[in-house]
Symmetry: C2
Subunit: 332 residues, 2 copies
């Protein structure tokens, strides 16, 4: 190498720095490492990345300011497995069993009796009223901190009846990736659950990277009780707010104060949230997760018939777990 | 200057970069420009800066992780002037007048009649029930976007009866600075109002730098109404949740899902929030704004007697507007 073209120590350092800068830039990372690697390539993945590019590209006429990039995502059946029963139902059934010795009257009192006798026919008929009666009865009088500790303790120990792993291992990697991908693109990601917000908060931060202040859902009434110079909100055995169905847009208005531009759900209880997201003259993306994979998870349309019909009519993006999810759970 | 010590172009560039780096570092900015310049020096300002240093210094045993740096601040009387009447009350009175021609029945129906006849004795006796009846009656059926537009329109036009300026010019610069100072130190700042959240959201972003998702308060019931493929939450003339007093810690649990470490209020309606913030074995700061400046603002203890007594007993930091506020409004 002729003397005049040999790189000096300074030039080599500058080159090294330039390479390092390129390697750590978002563009390089995106190419080297697909942020949606748990998705199969196809129209669904394309619809997501195309929408995110559209709203984040400042040169695009329909780009959306970061503070308005609100994503609202359902939990049960959208972010984690909801079969054979909702996870919080499994939690509350265990609580009924654990507390039964202190409540002899439950032996002849519904809905407790059905659980203690494992009366599946009666259990299948439970609605929201029974469920929240059970949640209230098994956690009334607790502070928020006590309930959170109890939920975490149960989640650490309980196992799914079919898959034999803790419920928190049954979140869907493609959807967890989607949350992270949206946040990396300036979105604020919210969980809007029909289940109890305080139950989801017990694991949402660790499992989804969503802090408690971005989780909303069904809530119990509470009563503030002073204790010396401090005080706590004690749980009451009464429903404050049903966060399912029309409760979802109401909760988004209450908690966020602006409409989302991306919403994802999986059942008829998510229809109003998707309608709230859908407005002419502005960009939006509606995702409907379809459980069509009996081998890796479950295949069912019950409770989601109306949403599937509307999705076809309104061009919502249907996510096929069978075709679009490269992985359904972290373990596969 | 001898040849060997004359700075080279490279050395001069490095020196310039070092100076620029120092000039833009947080430490330099803090010295050059006091982030709490609208506060007078004294024990109150010192209590605030000392607390923030304590919880943000990672080498301190009682430092607090950024995600747990939650500050919850009352609005009326804490962030802006609440006399002679709450600003939203002035708004709703104007609405009653504007809508009266369409409601001849209001002439003989309370609480409307009292407003139309300017019956101060009757108006003084109004409680939360009357106020929220008025809010509901004058905005029922509106979508969230319609109500926000109406509130902004009124705020842009209305003037304070004594100071003759728009209400949004009657925010307190020391408190607005405090919000920014907390955010610069990794806090998330929330407004926890006894007034209506959606009214405060109409100006909180512009006036306080607090986005709608960090404003909670009293709320009306809503009803989701589908319109074609979309839908909106329509306001109903009924109270959903009273966000004052014990409603403040309940709202914080509902919206944030964790306790604050700094809380600020000015009246008996803030006591439970301050108690919720106060817990042994962890750092916290409770601020109580005391209206003792009849010249620059108002001097009153009515409605704050119990809070002042507790502040003395429990060593809450009382903020004297007269002594601690260098400026009370942006204009002085």
């Amino acid at each position: 190498m002729p003397e005049r073209t040999r790189p000096t120590a300074l030039a080599r350092t500058i080159l090294l720095l330039a390479v390092l800068a390129a390697a750590t830039s978002p563009g390089f990372t995106a190419r080297a490492q697909d942020p949606l690697a748990a998705w199969n390539d196809g129209p669904t993945k394309q619809a997501i990345t195309q929408f995110v590019r559209q709203v984040t590209d400042p040169s695009n006429a329909s780009s959306v300011k970061p503070e308005e990039r609100v994503a609202t995502i359902d939990n049960d059946g959208t972010l984690w497995c909801e079969k054979p029963i909702y996870t919080q139902v499994a939690f509350v059934f265990q609580r009924v069993g654990a507390l039964a010795p202190m409540h002899p009257e439950w032996k002849t009192q519904q809905p407790f009796q059905a659980i203690l006798e494992r009366d599946q026919a009666a259990i299948q008929k439970f609605g929201a009223a029974q469920l929240f009666q059970l949640i209230g009865a098994t956690s009334a009088g607790m502070t928020e901190e006590q309930f959170a500790a109890l939920a975490r303790e149960w989640l650490a120990a309980a196992k799914h009846p079919r898959f034999g792993v803790p419920y928190t291992q049954l979140t869907y990697p493609p959807m967890v990736e989607l949350l992270a991908y949206l946040r990396a693109n300036g979105f604020k990601t919210y969980i809007v659950t029909g289940g109890e917000a305080d139950f989801v908060r017990a694991f949402a931060s660790g499992s989804y990277g969503v802090p408690p202040e971005q989780v909303m859902g069904t809530s119990l009434r509470t009563e503030f009780q002073e204790a010396g110079t401090s005080g706590s909100n004690l749980r009451l055995p009464a429903l404050f707010f049903n966060g399912d169905g029309p409760g979802k847009p109401a909760n988004i208005a209450l908690h966020v104060g602006r409409r989302p531009i991306l919403a994802a759900g999986n059942s008829d209880g998510d229809i109003q949230m998707l309608e709230y997201n859908q407005r002419d003259g502005r960009p939006y993306l509606n995702l409907l997760v379809h459980h069509d994979d009996a081998v890796r998870e479950y295949a069912y349309d019950t409770g989601t018939e109306k949403a599937l019909t509307l999705a076809a009519q309104r061009k919502w993006t249907v996510v096929s777990m069978k075709q679009d999810f490269r992985r359904v759970f972290a373990s596969n």
